[in-house]
């Protein structure tokens, strides 16, 4: 058995080394690629389940409203005629339909069975048995943050 490399053995050795080296390098890259991408923070920042950016300043006009997603349920962001923001759960406490804001009445209305709530969430007329949950609104910069109310 020859111990010094004959030309074919030599090229064969080089081939194996190249394949192995290249394979190792490529496989490392294929492992590192997801890790590098993972380390870069996503654009949508995780604020936790208790807070969400509902809208940007300027999205709503006075006496206007918008439905946004809060956790797994819809919520309602209202800008009153005076320019104040209110955020409430948009799930009607009667049978769970999604409520809407009535600019003509300055009240929140559920189209399913004609239930009404005032802007503080209190059920004022119709079938709804309980008020809507009210959330806290904070405006920071040009973003409107809505978070669950914390006990003080």
């Amino acid at each position: 058995m020859a111990t010094d490399d004959t030309p074919t053995l030599h090229t064969r050795r080089r081939l194996i080394e190249t394949v192995l080296g290249g394979g190792l390098l490529a496989s490392f890259v294929s492992f590192l690629y997801p890790v590098i991408r993972y380390l870069i923070p996503p654009r949508v920042v995780d604020l936790g389940g208790d807070q969400v950016v509902a809208a940007k300043v300027g999205d709503l006009k006075p006496n206007g409203a918008k439905i946004f997603r809060f956790g797994t349920r819809p919520a309602l962001l209202v800008m009153t005629a005076q320019g104040e923001y209110r955020a409430l759960s948009a799930v009607c406490t009667h049978l769970g339909c999604t409520v809407q804001y009535r600019g003509d009445l300055h009240e929140i209305w559920c189209a399913c069975h004609n239930g009404f709530y005032d802007l503080n969430g209190r059920n004022v007329s119709g079938p709804p048995p309980r008020p809507l949950d009210v959330f806290q609104v904070n405006v920071r910069g040009d973003e409107i943050f809505v978070s669950r109310k914390r006990e003080s």
Binding site: P34, G48, D50
Partner: protein, 361 residues
Amino acid sequence: MAGLARAREWLDERFHWAELIAPLKKKTVPRHKLSPWYFLGGITLFFFMIQLCTGILLLLYYRPGANEAFESVQYIMTRVQFGWLIRSIHSWSANLMILAAFAHMFSVLFLRAYRKPRELTWVSGMLLLFLALGFGFSGYLLPWNTLAFFATKVGTQITGQVPVVGHPLMVFLRGGEDVTGATLTRFFGFHVAVLPGITAILILVHLALVQYFGMSVPPGVEARWKEHPEEARGTKFFPNFFLRELMAWYIALGVLGTLAAIWPWELGTKADPFGFAPAGIRPEWYFMFMFQTLKEIPAKLWFMDGEVVGILVFGAAGAVWLLLPFFDPVAKGRGRKFVMGAGVFALAYILAMTVYGYLAK
């Protein structure tokens, strides 16, 4: 290549590098029909290192705390680039690590590598196995989903049944009387700080002992090689055995990636402490045999509570297992029969009870 040589020179001038690694260069691994079993320890270590890496990556986004944990895992699974991959690898590798650890333990047992002088290697290894189970139990709760919540509730409640120390132990584990957000915080502390710290030290001890004593050769092969020394074979650790080990690790990596991509770990639903326990709560598979055993024991045995008897029996079995080498120091005669018999019985029992636990629903 020239660069490597210069690096070696640099190290040698300062640390006597060549002297340091000389023993490693000479290290050999015995080579016989049962040699492939030697890979299991390394594979277990490999999975542990994967856990370390993916665990640290998960730490960058995970938030402990009952109102944030589930959402942060959901965020990792849906929004973070390749978050689904890191998390699924972490969950699968945990299971594979424990599987490999059990396989490693049983192979050491049946190859009788626990015998003198390697008793402490066995003890440190068993402690590592218990730590691995602790990792599994504490990590399982961290996503704070319904299954994990109730599995933890049942598991810690069983711990509470241990006589005398059970209740204080349960309160210590739970951070209170019930499983709450405090339990989650506590388990998180165990999982990322306490257990890794202890495990790191024990791994170093275990590896140092393995290095010191070298690889054990099964008694039959050892006897033969004593008679015919020319038949003794060994493989150089560097690079031969190491390259083979690398192959095993790459295969393990391929299996892990496939599992994580095709069967991603599910998120479940967020835990509701006031909700009803869903039907068919089970612990993870590595606890199944104990769980099923406790279910099969009748409620009362003589004057004692059936569950307590079961727990005590398992506690005693664990103690015996930890000190197994001392029952059979030289792997001969009655001692050997006892350990072999116990090993076969344990393996059969664990397999049977695990399968039964899944079928009997």
